[in-house]
């Protein structure tokens, strides 16, 4: 049973006491718009995987705060990096990020996003939602969106799947890799590139 706990999509269903308050209507609207757009791309049978990839990447890149995310996952190593390293890293990380979903976009099978609630978390707004799939094999996955609004624009900072934050996991991975490689950012950049080339 123990081994069951290590997985991304732990399908143990929680009892979360959520109250249905539309505290942050604009943010909830933002998430549902994003989800609608994503589903209309992923569910479009006239698009091949490459077209889906391009359109989906456009949507994602215009909706997430890639600059903040890139820096956050490097954390203290960002401060120590040279300007040149930062430029190269930002590009390699973006490619790595895109390649992480690139060949999975054709696996969409009718799941929908249902907004549950929204709440303030310091400067962020967290919109809670469920991924649901109807039918004989019912599915419900908790998906939390961490949003940041600046200058009137809302951006996605993080996704949390069943309580597992992707950006936190990514940061721990990068921090661990760097601390095991004497903080050598070039080593991380090369590692990212080698993974990008594989995909």
């Amino acid at each position: 049973m123990q081994i069951k706990k290590i997985i991304i999509l732990v399908l143990s269903f929680f009892f979360i006491n959520t109250f249905v308050f539309a505290n942050f209507e604009a943010e909830e609207k933002f998430v549902s718009n994003f989800a609608d757009n994503a589903i209309s791309i992923l569910g479009n049978e006239n698009l091949d995987i490459n077209q889906k990839n391009l359109q989906f990447t456009d949507l994602v890149m215009s909706s997430i705060d890639m600059n903040l995310i890139s820096k956050f996952v490097l954390s203290k190593y960002w401060n120590a990096a040279s300007q040149e390293q930062r430029d190269v890293y930002v590009k390699a990380f973006e490619e790595y990020f895109i390649s992480s979903y690139a060949n999975k976009l054709d696996q969409y099978s009718g799941e929908k996003i249902v907004i549950v609630s929204s709440d303030a978390a310091k400067k962020f707004v967290i919109v809670k939602s469920n991924i649901v799939r109807d039918g004989a094999d019912t599915l419900k996955i908790e998906l939390d969106w961490r949003l940041l609004t600046r200058d009137g624009r809302t951006k996605i900072i993080d996704l949390s799947i069943e309580g597992i934050s992707l950006i936190v996991a990514q940061r721990e991975e990068f921090q661990s890799y760097l601390s095991n490689n004497n903080g050598n950012l070039d080593a991380l950049i090369n590692k990212l590139r080698s993974i990008n080339n594989k995909n």
Binding site: M1, K5, I6, D65, F72, S99, S160, E173, S176
Partner: protein, 280 residues
């Protein structure tokens, strides 16, 4: 019998540490919540040993578990695999009920025990899940979570041979389960072990067969696979325990996001070339 007394001592010692760690309030108002739930930095003092065991587990997985899981998924039609998955879930309900009670969650104990009764009877030995149909949703509790509710801190990260990611708290919980779980006592002495081995073995293969692609993907695309699994495990456990303690896991992660302050507010971190831009 001897190994049982070792276990009893282990459980007692965790109980005592629970008592000495300052938990006097009822479980809902745990004063040491911050210690129980995720810290910014995962404690992993024996990382080199953990990494060695992790590598061993991966070799074992590649050689045995993954191939058997692929075979299992390939040979057995989905219908039968689902029946097995449901029956394994059903067998885990009594231990969930016990943990519900130990966590003073009597309403949930009612749900999990009703699930077990309904699915074991109408659900034909648990092969089907009519309970969910009646609105009794599955929830799983283990003794590691109960220890957390009692205020036991998780302790350092631990990778167990064959069993994978754990912590002293979860490992104690895991071992206690073999004592507490009534469905581990099914059968007489001779076939009890056989039944346990079957459950354990099929449980692992069933779980692994559902996640072949996810693990392959994680392994191939990770910069540091060990650190990725460690993070997923810790976050997943913390999320379950946040749930037990009735706090929101996302909101709980806020301290982890403090770094944003410095990146946002201090303009020196943002070079002209990486200025924050918002493409339309």
């Amino acid at each position: 019998m001897k190994s049982k007394s070792v276990l009893v001592i282990l459980i007692l010692s965790t109980l005592i540490s629970a008592c000495t760690s300052g938990v006097k309030e009822p479980p809902r108002y745990i004063p040491v919540k911050e210690e129980i739930i995720m810290k910014d930095v995962i404690s992993d003092p024996i990382e080199p040993i953990n990494r060695a065991i992790f590598s061993f587990n991966n070799v074992f997985d590649k050689a045995v578990v993954r191939p058997v899981s692929i075979l299992y998924r390939g040979i057995l039609p989905e219908f039968f695999r689902n029946r097995i998955a449901y029956s394994l879930d059903n067998l885990s309900m009594p231990i969930t009920t016990i943990n519900n009670i130990l966590q003073f969650e009597f309403g949930k104990a009612g749900i999990s025990s009703a699930r077990f009764v309904i699915n074991s009877t109408i659900g034909i030995l648990g092969f089907f899940d009519p309970a969910s149909y009646f609105g009794l949703k599955a929830d799983y509790e283990d003794f590691g979570q109960t220890l957390a509710v009692w205020g036991v801190p998780t302790g350092p990260y631990l990778v167990l041979p064959f069993l994978g990611p754990s912590s002293p708290r979860d490992f104690t919980g895991l071992m206690s389960t073999s004592l507490l779980d009534p469905t581990y006592q099914v059968g007489n002495a001779a076939n009890r072990d056989l039944f346990r081995a079957y459950r354990m073995g099929v449980g692992v293969i069933n779980f692994r067969s559902e996640n072949i692609e996810i693990f392959d993907d994680l392994q191939n695309n990770s910069v540091d696979y060990y650190a990725a699994v460690r993070s997923f495990y810790n976050q997943s456990r913390n999320s379950q325990i946040s749930d037990n303690l009735e706090v929101s896991p996302s909101i709980n992660q806020d301290s982890l996001f403090n770094d944003f302050e410095e990146f946002e507010l201090d303009d020196t971190y943002i070079g002209p070339d990486v200025s924050i831009s918002y493409p339309e």
